[in-house]
């Protein structure tokens, strides 16, 4: 058994145990760790996002490379602070409208391309020359995608053939939810194993 002398691992080990203590019940150690996590994470993301935006996309291009057009982004950013005061709150609608519209303009072509056309294209299949097993799987995939979409079609009442097809759709959805759930459980369990490995190997040196 060789306990580490690394201060960082000691801090990480103690904080890991503090979070695990929640399994017994809510307690001061857990609350301390939880609040510390919120504070450190907020600080980390503030530094990452603000400095990468303010320094790399504003300070460097405007004051070092002379791209003054980027100053507009800085002005829009500063206008966000007008929402802190009730009388000027409405001004912050401009940067919000800009941000939302830029996002909307960006997602329309990219979503149509990636989430609709590409997905529909990958669902189509040509059984000619395909092994029987693969062709069957491709057919099941096509039926699954079509019936799932029918299940989410609410513009007409689900009666007759539409009802039957939407029932097939919910069958695929249930298999999908079950598989996703199982996959998530395994992901969490492997994360848990990773934490125990850290505690017993890296920190306490019990397991090699």
């Amino acid at each position: 058994m060789a306990v580490t002398h690394d201060l960082g691992i000691w801090v990480a080990g103690i904080l890991t145990l503090a979070i695990f203590s929640f399994l017994y019940k809510d307690n001061p150690f857990y609350r301390f760790a939880e609040h510390l996590l919120v504070g450190v994470s907020a600080g980390y993301y503030l530094v990452q996002y603000f400095f990468s935006a303010a320094y790399k996309k504003l300070w460097v291009p405007v004051f070092q490379e002379g791209h003054h057009v980027l100053l507009v982004g800085g002005i829009l950013g500063l206008l966000m602070f007008t929402r802190l005061f009730r009388r000027t709150e409405w001004i912050s609608r401009y940067p919000v409208a800009f941000y939302i519209a830029a996002w909307a303009g960006y997602v329309i072509p990219s979503y149509i391309q990636v989430r609709i056309l590409q997905q529909a294209q990958d669902t189509m299949f040509n059984p000619r020359g395909m092994p029987l097993g693969e062709a069957l799987s491709a057919l099941i995939l096509l039926i699954g995608v079509s019936t799932t979409l029918i299940y989410f079609y609410f513009s007409a009442e689900h009666r007759g053939p539409l009802k039957t097809l939407s029932k097939v759709g919910i069958t695929f959805l249930m298999i999908g939810f079950g598989a996703t759930f199982g996959y998530n459980v395994m992901g969490r369990v492997s994360l848990l194993i990773g934490r125990f490995q850290f505690l017993f190997t890296d920190w306490l040196g019990i397991v090699h």
Partner: protein, 213 residues
């Protein structure tokens, strides 16, 4: 001015972003990239606003001595130390990456690993074979889980002379019926997002502007 101005701005920016997709003109490509840079700068400023909101919340909590107010000092101290570490020693080395590697990452992954226990209790409730669809959920979940552990690779047999392994079945469930459901949802989400984006650009969707004046 208070409401029409932002709607006009949204229309202009949204259309400009869309037009560049259909034209090879260099001006539109340049405008597109500039708008994306502005967007990133605005996002950076919103993080300051968010942090201000967090500080304000904890300040009020301490001031009014609300339940568990003492822990608010921990949050504020964690925030201040992380930001100061980045300002004084820069971000590449020193206390800032140390805090990330030894405080944030271990706690975050432990927090997510805790969910393994809660997911176990949730699965007990979700995976009860009371209806046909609940049974499907149970079977699909069990197959995927068994296919991801070492014992799953030992569980195999043959039907009509065809060798079937549990890992292969698990992979098939993930790649065919699961992929079909996911793809259907993805196409639906894509259609919904596109429709919402068009409504925003045309000024039909205005909820992002907040309450009416």
């Amino acid at each position: 001015m208070k409401r029409q101005g932002p709607i006009i701005l949204a229309f202009a920016i949204g259309m400009l972003m869309l037009i560049q997709f259909f034209t090879p003109a260099a001006f539109f490509k340049e405008a597109y990239n500039t708008i994306l840079d502005w967007k990133q700068v605005v996002l950076g400023f919103t993080f300051i606003l968010g942090t201000w909101s967090l500080i304000r919340y904890h300040y009020i909590k301490i001031n009014r001595k609300r339940e568990n107010w003492q822990y608010s000092y921990v949050t504020l101290a964690g925030l201040a130390i992380t930001v100061l570490a980045a300002l004084i020693w820069k971000t590449a080395e020193g206390p800032y990456p140390w805090l990330f590697n030894n405080v944030q990452v271990p706690m975050q992954s432990t927090m997510f690993s805790l969910l393994a226990f809660f997911v176990a209790s949730a699965s007990y409730r979700a995976f009860r074979a009371r209806t046909f669809h609940a049974t499907l959920l149970l079977i699909a979940g069990a197959l995927v889980m068994l296919g991801r552990v070492p014992i799953g690779s030992y569980l195999s047999g043959s039907i009509f002379g065809v060798k079937i392994s549990l890992v292969a079945i698990s992979d098939w469930v993930l790649n065919v019926p699961n992929a079909a459901a996911k793809r259907g949802i993805m196409i639906g989400v894509g259609l919904g997002m596109t429709a919402t984006a068009i409504k925003i650009i045309l000024g039909i969707e205005q909820t992002y502007l907040g309450k009416t004046d």
